[in-house]
Symmetry: C2
Subunit: 170 residues, 2 copies
DNA sequence: AACGAATAATTGACACTTGAAGTAACTGGC
DNA sequence: GCCAGTTACTTCAAGTGTCAATTATTCGTT
């Protein structure tokens, strides 16, 4: 497109608005990258500790955590939803835990398609030990931040979560 | 420990402190879970869009993003550090991108152990298209949150990042 | 110059994750 | 009762990720 011939001293009128928009763009991406960095740091820390202290993994811990408060067990599909992963994934993790005797698949008499997955007593024992330490790891990581700032973060992240939890409906 | 005999109206002195500690524990874990939920939401959204619109993945996008502003290329180990993943992982992702002609490994005459990985012109072209859309996705997700709150979040996450970026020494 | 230690990258084994395709079981309308 | 459609779960292939072991190269000391 041809350049307009403009008087030498004319400043573009849209600069302010564009600048603000540009900043906002940058801001959103920066926010995203920073949040990602924090999450990765904590996650990898927890992961390493689970591996080193209990020879287990975050997904396994997560699955057991979902089961802990579900006395009557959870269906594979419920686990899938709560862990926010696909069904095929849950199958594999459950296989592993079952092989180690930490969970069991029980058939549901009312619907033979369904399994109810439950923690075994052994699984409960092990999970409780892990959960206690897990809490300490997280607390330790965050301890140098003031409660005031932590509270602010929880608030703001709560707001963010509400904003992003449903896709910007067309 | 033996209870002190105290006048009836005296309230136990440690209750406040204990309560605060207990709240703090809860607070840290809540903060962690909430941050994780937000990150997962954004990440899976970006992932799906990259797959659907460009038949590519987040790690590939991430690697190309690291290369974009490094005209002279990056060593495998530098990529590994910046992407916060292990070296073996970088090898695999680079293999894939090189096979598709989006990056190249160039040998370094000064040190024959290292590769300098660079974007090809084709890789640059594709990355720029992806980056533009990526930015729109993130902006879209976050658009309903005020700039003020976004700024506060960036600030607080920056502080959190500093606190957790080095393990609580010794 | 030569050797041991450190560094750069790759490889292989194993685990997690997704998406698509497959199997078995249930449901509702005819 | 049948059968099309849905639901629950599994299986498989490909990509991502870690760790430990290996190879090749460089560096520092002697």
């Amino acid at each position: 497109m041809p350049k307009d011939k403009t008087p030498l001293k004319l400043v573009e009128p849209r600069v302010d608005a564009e600048t603000r928009i540009h900043d906002d763009h940058h801001l959103s991406v920066r926010l995203w990258l920073r949040m990602l960095a924090c999450t990765n740091r904590v996650e990898s820390f927890v992961r390493q500790n689970l591996q080193a202290n209990f020879t287990t993994t975050l997904p396994r811990f997560d699955l057991m955590a979902q089961l802990e408060r579900a006395v009557q067990g959870l269906k594979m599909s419920e686990l899938s939803q709560r862990m926010m992963v696909t069904g095929g994934n849950v199958t594999g993790i459950t296989d592993g835990l079952e092989k180690e005797g930490l969970v069991v698949r029980e058939t549901d008499p009312a619907d033979r398609r369904v399994f109810r997955v439950k923690l075994t007593p052994e699984g409960q024992r092990q999970f409780r030990r892990m959960a206690a330490e897990h809490e300490q790891w997280v607390i330790g990581l965050f301890e140098s931040m003031s409660m005031k700032h932590k509270n602010q973060l929880v608030e703001l992240l709560g707001e963010l979560k509400r904003h992003i939890s449903r896709p910007p409906a067309e």
